[in-house]
Each structure stands twice: as C-alpha cells, then as structure tokens.
Symmetry: none
Subunit: 201 residues, 4 copies
Amino acid sequence: MGAAGAGARRPRTDKQRNRAHILEVAEEFFSERGITGSLDAIAKQAGVGPGTLYRHFPNREALLAALLQTRDEELVSRRDAIRREEADSGIALARWLEAMGEWLTAFDGLPEPLRAALSEETSPLAITCQGFITTTDEFLHAAQRDGAAHPWVRGRDLFLTVLATAWVRSAALADESSPQALHALMQSGWMTPRTERGPLT
Amino acid sequence: MGAAGAGARRPRTDKQRNRAHILEVAEEFFSERGITGSLDAIAKQAGVGPGTLYRHFPNREALLAALLQTRDEELVSRRDAIRREEADSGIALARWLEAMGEWLTAFDGLPEPLRAALSEETSPLAITCQGFITTTDEFLHAAQRDGAAHPWVRGRDLFLTVLATAWVRSAALADESSPQALHALMQSGWMTPRTERGPLT
Amino acid sequence: MGAAGAGARRPRTDKQRNRAHILEVAEEFFSERGITGSLDAIAKQAGVGPGTLYRHFPNREALLAALLQTRDEELVSRRDAIRREEADSGIALARWLEAMGEWLTAFDGLPEPLRAALSEETSPLAITCQGFITTTDEFLHAAQRDGAAHPWVRGRDLFLTVLATAWVRSAALADESSPQALHALMQSGWMTPRTERGPLT
Amino acid sequence: MGAAGAGARRPRTDKQRNRAHILEVAEEFFSERGITGSLDAIAKQAGVGPGTLYRHFPNREALLAALLQTRDEELVSRRDAIRREEADSGIALARWLEAMGEWLTAFDGLPEPLRAALSEETSPLAITCQGFITTTDEFLHAAQRDGAAHPWVRGRDLFLTVLATAWVRSAALADESSPQALHALMQSGWMTPRTERGPLT
DNA sequence: GATGAATGAGGGTTCATTCAT
DNA sequence: GATGAATGAACCCTCATTCAT
C-alpha cells in the first residue's frame, strides 16, 4: 500500500510524483462525480493516506485550486491566441467568453465553489477568479473602445454571467441547443434593440 | 414530546395539521439557513419525528416542491396582474422575468435543486419548472409577436437565464450593482446591435 | 448487524436495552483499557452504529457520567451503611474516604476527567463530584464536632486528596504498600504532632 | 527552510545546536500549551524536521526527560540551599517538599508522564523520579532521626503525595486556598492526633 | 545527520433514511 | 399514522512515527 501507482514503491522525487498523481486522480474523480466527492476517497484511490493528501492540499478548495491552475495554462494560451489572431475586438471578447465558459465546465459542479470564492477575499480560488475578471476587462475595454460592446457593461458582470451559464449548463444537457442559446442571449439579450422598433415612449 | 408544539394537543386531523405545520417550519428554516439544512432539525423543530416528516415528504426535494407550491400562488397572482395591467408585451415579459427572479431567490440555495430537477423528468420540482417555462413562453411569444423580443429566443432559455442569475446572485452580494447589471445583460446583451455599427462584413 | 446481542433483532423496548448494553460494554472497555479508548470501538463492540452511541451519550463525558451513576448507587449504599453502623465519627469519615477512594479507582484513568470536570460548572461529572464533596462535608463536620478532625480541613480538600491519591495509585501498583501508606499520610500527615516534640520554638 | 531559525545559518556543530534549540523551543511550548501539544509543531517551530527531533529524542518522554534535566539543576540548587541553611530537619523536609511541588507544576500536565514513568523501570523519566525520591529520603531520614517525621513514612510515598498534589492543583485553580490546604493535609493529616483525644480504645 | 514526505489508524461528529413499535 | 431509535457510511482532520532521500 502507499505506492504511487507507477511501479516501484516511492521512487525518487516522489513528492512531485505523488502530488501529480493525486491531481490526476482528483481530476478524474471530480470530472466523473463532481467536486463534492470525498477527499478521503480520492486519497484512497490515489493510493496515499489521507494525511498525504492533506499535506499537499490542506482542504478541498486548495486541491481544486491546484487542479485549476493546471487548466489555467490552457486558458492563458487561448487568451494569447485570441489576442494574436483576432483583430475585431468584439469577436475577440466573444471568443474569450466562450473559452472561459468551456473552462468553467471542466468539472461538474465547478461553478459552485468559484461563486462561493467570490465572496471571500482570502480563498485561493478567488485569485483565479480575479485573474479571469481582469482578462475579461481587458477584452471588454477594447471592445467598448471600438463601440462593439455596451459601455455600461463591466468585466465582473460578464464573468458572472459566463459563470452562471456554465452552472446552468450542467442541467440543460438534455437540451442540445441550450448552450448556444444562452450564449446568444448573453450576447444580444432577449430584447430587440429599440432602434428597430422605434422609441419606447 | 411528539406534540405539534404550537399550542394544540393534536386532535383528530393530525395528518393535515402536521403537514401544514411542517411546511411552516420548513419555510422558516429554509429562509433562514438555506435549503441545505438538516431535515432532522426541521422535524424536531416542528415537533414531529423524522419518520413523520418522511411520510409526508419522502425526500428533501418533495418537501421543497410542496413548499414552493405555496409560493407558487403568489407568483401566479403576479403573473395575472402583469397580464392584466401591462399592455406592452415587452415590458410584460420583463416584469415577468423579474418576478420569477425574485421568486427564485426566496431561499438561499434554491436554484440548485431546480437546476437538478430539470434533468430529471420525474422530479416534483420539474413540474414546477415546467409551469414557469410555459408561462415564460406565453409572455415571450406575445413579445415576439410584437417584435419586442428576438424571434430566436425560447422560453426555456429565458428561464434558465433567470435561474442562473438567481444562482449567481448569492455570491455577488458584496457588489450591490450586480443584480441590475445581470438583468440588463440578459435583456440587451453585451454586444451593441450591429445596426449601430454597420454590417459585420 | 445492529442487533443488541441478546437474540432477536431489536426486540422490544430496545432503547433501554441498547443503552444498557452500551453501558455494559463501555464498562468493560473502560475497565480494561482505561477511559481513553475509542468511542467508535465501544459502539462497534456493542454492535451498534456510532450514531446510536452518540444519540444516547453525546460525548465521552456523558457516557462516563452515565456509567458512574450506576456505580453511584453502590457508593450511596456504602455511605448509608457507614452512617448506620459507625458511631465514631472519625472512623466513619475514614471509612467514607476509603469507600470513595475505591470508587475512584473503578476505571483506569477515571480521576483525570473528574479533575477536569471540577473546573467546569456545566459538566455532568461536576455534579457527581459535588455530591461527593457534600457527603464528605457531612462526615467531616461530624468528625470536627467530635474533635476527631482538624477544624481547618474542608470537605473539598479531602475530596481532592482522595482523588489525587486515586490518581497516583494507578502508577504505584508495583508497590503494594503504597495505597495504605498514602492513606495513612492523608490521615496523619508526615509530621509528628508538635505536642509530642514540644513547641516549634 | 530547515535552518535553525534563530539567526545563525547552521555551521558545523549542528547536532548540539539543534538539540539545544529544540529544547528551548520545547520548553516554551510546553510551558504555554502543556505537554500534550504536537511534537510536529515543536519541530516546526524549532525549524527542524520531525525526523531530526526524533533523532535527538526518540519520543515525547525522552524530550521531556531532557527538558527536566535542565530544570533539575535548579532543584539541586534549592536542595543544597536548604541543606546549608536549614538546621531544623522537619522544616528542611517541608521546604524540600514545597520545592519539589513547585518544580512539578512547571508545565501543565507534567505529573501525568511522571506517574506513568514510575511503573516502568526503563523510562528516562523514572531516573529523574528516582533522584527525587532519594533526596526526599535523605531529608526524611534526618527528620525521622530528629523525631520530626513519623517513622512509618517513606520517601517514595511523600514523593507520590507531592506528585498527586501537583496533579490535582491544575483543577483546583478556581479555589485559591486549595494548594495550601492540601499542603497542610499532607503535613498534618485530617485526623487530630490521638494524644489530644485520649486513647482509641 | 538531517530532512520532511508519507503513513494510516483514529478522533469526534452528522444526517438521510429505514423500520420496529 | 406517528414515532423516534437505529443505522452506518461519510465527513474532515490530526499526529506520532517511519524511512527514503
């Protein structure tokens, strides 16, 4: 017992190995069963004691944060790619929001702790969220400068909307078209622009 | 012990009394502590055994559904009022969405089980949701007929959006302006209408 | 699983049965392994779930208190017997202290929680201790009235001394004569009375 | 990490430095939080790994023994002072017992492991205790020779009594007068000397 | 020697749910 | 029907101790 899977019994720099292995298992676990599963169970499946898991990640949030950090890099790449490739700031924003949305649906139940983290300054997840909001703000400002986005929109709100959309999506799976529909709603709203209809009076 | 607490000594029509009393207590409980509290605690506070609670409501969802049904009536009234008072179908839809949004924030954590219910046909909550979607569709169709809403929007998607907004709101408390911002986003989207900017190319 | 040992699967007034059975097991457990053993282990050995044990005794102290209450009756009998039989108030006190001392060595480690309880008013054990102190005071007052006990002694201090003696006894087992020696010390002190030696100066 | 924290950067005589530093930290730790605290925490606070701590002190008892050895010297000084200054062997004994009592309350919880050690020959703490008992015997013999102490008292019993008194004192804090009362009890017992009351018959 | 990661049994506790009474 | 005792898996977490590096 206690082996890190890959062969010998605790070979060399096993801290990193263990950490990585735990993350792997946790990723799988969270993906399959959602992020509410038992940490002890993850430890067991990873072949380590609960203490080991606890050493690496003092609580569920820390584990999640570490897990996301890995995924973060992918998102950063996408961000850079969008910046590089996309001249139209509106489309760039759209693509970024889409990328974020995909990222947020990585695990079932992920939006929940992120939302919770938003209310607590100290959480490691809060930092992640802040990063997202900042990036969103960048894309948004560019779009606003170009007149592609409403001036009254804030990055934080966009993030929240994407988050909420990601959250709701888990349920709407049965309905294939929901994701796009929600995306469209977020983009254009349900209301037709007044200009098309004449003044409201 | 075992009496219905609130004065009387449990005469004949126990069952109905109990049911009503449990609902009352549950309402208070859920309102104050969110819907994740212990059912045992509710039973205890209602002065009944957990078995009794379970007889009336086989699980948390059933209890919640019963609870919401009561609240439903309020929402129905609002719906009727809107229908009666509001000539502009767009504004009517807007008001309806707002009413629904308020309703969905009645208890902390309420959106979660509703979302879950959407994936399961059999859930008692699913029926409630269906009712909402239907009503939303009615308002929406009217609005679409009048050109006040985009023709591609579906009632289900609007409901999901309102639900998601209600969900995200619990976290955004610190930020006072979030609710409105999200509302505006849902209504108008972040993107400026193309007509204002010229063709997309 | 889950049966209370004695045959059928949860026969009649099993609450009392279970309670009694748990107490029995706990008594055995505490006697053999001291009072620091795992509560879960006791539950398991009693054939009940941890929750059941918890329901009956919300914590270790409560369990202990219940256990002692049973023993209490024995002590009360002894107290009454002493009162009945013993004319010499000094000897009566001595016998009571001895009885208490024996009672306090019922389980290994028992003095510890009792000592701890003395600092906390709310503890169920504290009440037990108070009872002892009161009784000690009664015997002591009689002895003092008869000139058999020093007037400056207080019941509380005598109790503490007996408690301390019981505590220290667990270690001194190897030394057979320690209990008596300590008893004698408590009774007569180590110092010879000044009257035998003349004034101190 | 892993440096000895307190300034220097761990030159050659690591081992001794480490040992000393661990002892320092442990002393502080035990004084403040009692001797039941986590050894890991001590190691961490001392800036060494738990392995290092364990190398020096294979278990909690060993650490404690080492710690007490340092304090021992103080007690030895007091012993010598008493010997030097005190002509009256009875008062000398009393002073020694008092000194020992103070020494035993150095850390919260100290009496416990000492008592335990008394049952095990091999314990490092047992040696410390033996020293105390020996010294007590010396004072006691002198007092007995002078008729100041009962001839039936043994040093070991006196030590046990002082130990027990130290133990019980932690609980009796609320009661300011307990320490003195217990001291008096140990000295004179609760029973009035028979000579004052006539023969027992 | 020193390190500190790993161990893993064990701690107390909660609670949705069942079922004998 | 109502009751509430029983269930027992699950939760998170701690820490003395070992041992590979």
